[in-house]
């Protein structure tokens, strides 16, 4: 959306879903594993996004063999993609299994997506430990992966009531630079229902928050939004929501 040529790869082998979220599930012919195995070339497998000319999706395979992603194969595909794209986004599955390890191994930057919830924060800390020790950069003693925090499903109202971890608490525990806070929003489910990424919802809070995240990642210095409770206008107050 900012004009950078970008490719996004679904690393969740066996549980392909990025195509569904991006609304291109009916255009999947070849997948990531096909490309690794040489059964298709990248141009055949990459799906061009209908809404954004510079965005391409490489879907995950539905195979049950989770070791279908070999380190050497993933490296080869990423190398080829980096010749043609400015940004290659590796969408990692949750957890610390093979798919996640492969998604992070070759990374330069990592965006850790966390909910303000104890299990999610703890898992993120584990993942940070793995990023710092098991990545290619770590193994080659290069400059470490740059890590950013993205806090989603945030509810300022619940934070005020003391029912939810504050963004500052999560930041402090994980010791990360905050890339953005995405508020809990109905628009997210609506977006996934219809296969239209929520960032395209330019009116909604979640969409704006994601756009902020992109701009901050690209180096813009924007103030953080959606951390405080937004005051309803007088009409809103009188007539409920």
């Amino acid at each position: 959306m900012k004009g950078h040529r970008s490719a996004v790869i679904d690393f969740d082998v066996g549980l392909r879903n990025l195509d569904l979220i991006m609304g291109c599930e009916r255009r999947v012919v070849y997948d990531f594993v096909n490309v690794i195995n040489g059964e298709a070339n990248l141009n055949q497998a990459l799906i061009r996004d209908k809404r954004s000319d510079n965005l391409y999706v490489l879907p995950a395979s539905q195979t049950r063999d989770k070791h279908a992603l070999t380190q050497e194969g993933v490296g080869r595909v990423l190398e080829e993609l980096s010749e043609d794209f400015e940004y290659v986004i590796c969408d990692s599955p949750a957890g610390i299994e093979h798919g996640a390890t492969m998604a992070m191994y070759f990374a330069d930057d990592a965006i850790v997506v966390t909910n303000p919830e104890v299990s999610s924060v703890r898992d993120s800390d584990r993942m940070l430990g793995i990023l710092a020790s098991k990545s290619r950069r770590a193994e080659n003693n290069e400059e470490p992966i740059k890590e950013y925090l993205l806090l989603s499903r945030y509810s300022p109202e619940r934070v005020k009531e003391g029912e939810m971890l504050h963004v500052e608490d999560v930041k402090e525990i994980l010791a990360l630079q905050l890339l953005g806070v995405v508020p809990e929003s109905k628009a997210v489910l609506t977006a996934s229902n219809s296969g239209v990424p929520v960032i395209l919802d330019k009116e909604g809070d979640a969409g704006k928050a994601y756009m902020d995240v992109v701009e901050r990642y690209l180096g813009e210095d924007l103030p953080h939004r959606f951390i405080e409770i937004q005051k309803k206008k007088l009409f809103g107050r009188l007539f409920g929501r």
Binding site: V121, R122, D125, G129, E161, G162, E163, L165, D169, I173
Partner: protein, 84 residues
Amino acid sequence: MGFLDYFRATPKSGKSATLAKERLQILVSHDRLEANSPSYLPKMKEELIEVIRKYVDVDQDAVSVKLEQKGSREMLELNVVLPD
């Protein structure tokens, strides 16, 4: 529950976020320590306990081995509870 309780602000349960933060801080520092400990530690623990048991008749769980880190100093703490 007394009649007046109905008028009180949200009771203690409203402070669960503080609890979450405290639990996480303890847990995360513990996890990090464990993740950073050398891989030979469990095996060493096992063998240490075995040696002690060779000379003193103690239970397996009467021996605890802990590796602590304070700044740049690492400390191996061995705690044996001797039988009476």
